[in-house]
Amino acid sequence: MQRVDLFPTHEYKGLKLRTGRPYPFGATVMGNAVNFSVYSRYATDCTLVLFHNHEPEPFVEIPFQKEFKMGNVFSMMVFDLDFENIEYGYRMDGPWNPKEGHRFDKTKILMDPYAKLIAGRDAWGVQPDWNNVYQYRARVVCDDFDWEDDLPLETPVNELVIYEMHVRNFTCGASANVHHPGTFAGIAEKIPYLKELGVNCVELMPIHEFDEFENSKPSPVDGHMLYNVWGYSNVGFFAPKAAYASTGRFGMQVDELKNLIKQLHANGIEVILDVVFNHTAEGNENGPYISYRGIDNKTYYMLTPDGYYFNFSGCGNTLNCNNPNVRDMIVESLRYWVTDYHVDGFRFDLAAILGRDQNGYPMPNPPLLESLAHDPILGKTKLIAEAWDAGGLYQVGAFPSWGRWAEWNGKYRDSIRRFLKGDEHVLADVKERIAGSADLYASQNRGIKASVNFITAHDGFTLMDLVSYNGKHNEVNGEDNRDGEDNNNSWNCGWEGECDDPGINFLRHKQIKNAISLLMTSQGIPMVLSGDEMGNTQFGNNNAYCQDNEIGWLDWTNLEKNADIYRFFQRIIKFRQAHKVLRYEYHLGHCDYRNLGYPDFSWHGVKAWHPECGYNNLTAAFMLNGRYAETDGVADDFIYVAMNMHWDMHGFELPQLPEEMAWHVFANTEMASPDDICEPGEECLLDNQQEILVGPRSIMILVGKQPKK
């Protein structure tokens, strides 16, 4: 049956129109019409501006009639548009009174805040025409991708191994050897690699539309162009970055990204998006009009009493996340990425901002965070907070969670880094971190699954640089090395930067293996920084956000050069996936509460059962009792991890196993490859079942199980 309300009632300059539907906001295809709907609390008038694709001047501007406005929403249907070949924007009229928070300017053409496809930056790095009156151009999209039987995977969060990666940097270098470098399609070509590595979740650094030319400039050091490569600066919250799609020039980025996600899912790999809801690319009062500022400044931004922009993001403005309408936009955006893109989870950049009220004060029960925790569509979606902001709010362990939110565990990173380089004052904290940070996450029913453990992330040194540089080397970023974190807890192993000394290089590789061993045997969700598995370097740059070159791009030749590191990563990831005892959801008892003969988790020193016995707080060991982690009635193995971060070798007395079992060596980072790690399940029986010698700055991982007959 045909609808009776899809007939035009008005006409304007040859175009047929009708009162639109206020909901949903954005541009929606309805029959042979497109429904345009935009909200502004304070605008007095609105005009729809239509362009043919890429044309500098609009072909028509249609004012919204009085009868096209309901409440504070302008909505209108336009019939018979060749919608694939049009771009649309709005002119908003209203008060210009910055002190009151209003910055309406009807000379500006504004992008729809709900635009699902944005043109204007279709291919990476192609200089736009800066004289164009409309830079980021909303387009209409047909959301009818055929997912067949695909759905978000809903992998239990405690089973994830997250791989944090950047769409462009991952395959942009020639050494990636893909047909579509730097794009979603390029990632699809590397799916076999991701499977071989063993990760089951990719966390994509921002893929919402942003402008790589924002603050772009030549480097004062050597003149190469600096871009906004990372994209932590949203133009739109509903549209994928066109230039990340090899089909972006045809406006087909939506399908290309959906197809990537479908293929990743088919290979058991989840997709988490890094989303930036704390600010937009419009900057402060000196920034450009892209959308929000001109659509409804006072609604979208947190403003000071004088009408200036609060800057809790460090990027000029702060999105007014707990304004009810902005909150709705954020919820709509997240639901859209889940329903239409089948995304599995989100990592929220500077998420502490999402808990600030409209005056910037932190709230005890922020409505936005509560809505997201209880949202029906996001009910199985992973929600991960970067639980701090640039305004000094640090909420690691205290992020309002309703038992739903996980966090990037920044304390894990800091403590483990210090321990790795031989800091003698951190062991007590390291023990908390390895056991799942009960001090941070045992409350509110959060559990171990709330702790995303990481040692490296996009912010800061790569793992190779963490063991190769004492200090950051960001000169090429053009800010006299002032940008980037100063407190890196890194150690260069005896020489600053790359070197030929085999001893130093052996130690660096060993430290990398120590790091990944700790990460994969710690309770919590491990996150690996893309490239660390092949010893990728950024040459000491710990803030490579602007480096669109070999500093930021993965160098895939490292796979061969650092084959031992890659092999170690593969096997330790596989080991984690093979042992349920490493992947608890909730915190452990540290006692034998089921009377199984051993505690579920126990700490040891160089003497078994004596955690206090050690050297300068640089030696410790822990044991996991596999009987507490059964799969279909079959107990897991015992696992014992001896950590010696001291610069001398130490003997560790081993806890005695149940009679039928014996200790086997899975990994020993002191050994050169291939004797550093075995294939999981193929561990070698230990000759001496009473004691092991753990080399200087080394880790040994043992498995307690029945010896093969």
């Binding site: 070949n85 055929d146 087909m252």
Partner: protein
Amino acid sequence: MNAEVHKVGPVLDASSSKDEQQAILAILDQNKDVILDLSECTYVSSAGLRVMLYTYKVAASNGLNLYLVGVSKEVREVMSITGFEHFFKYFDTVEACQSQI
């Protein structure tokens, strides 16, 4: 053989998609398979891909087939990247298609 050839123009995009779709559906209405000849088509837009997939699904739901002929390397590449490729059977020429189906 109960198949009819339909030749697509040089561009299959939003402007031509309506007419092309009607023409293909008209063949399916006669209970015939469709051999879609794209050998002279150099550009298929998002709307064009949707015409192909939509008519394919109409065909399949009526127990009919829609075959693609002469798809250029560029168009095939776009279809692959955007997830449209695997639905279809491909032939180099109309004759090859007719002899094999």
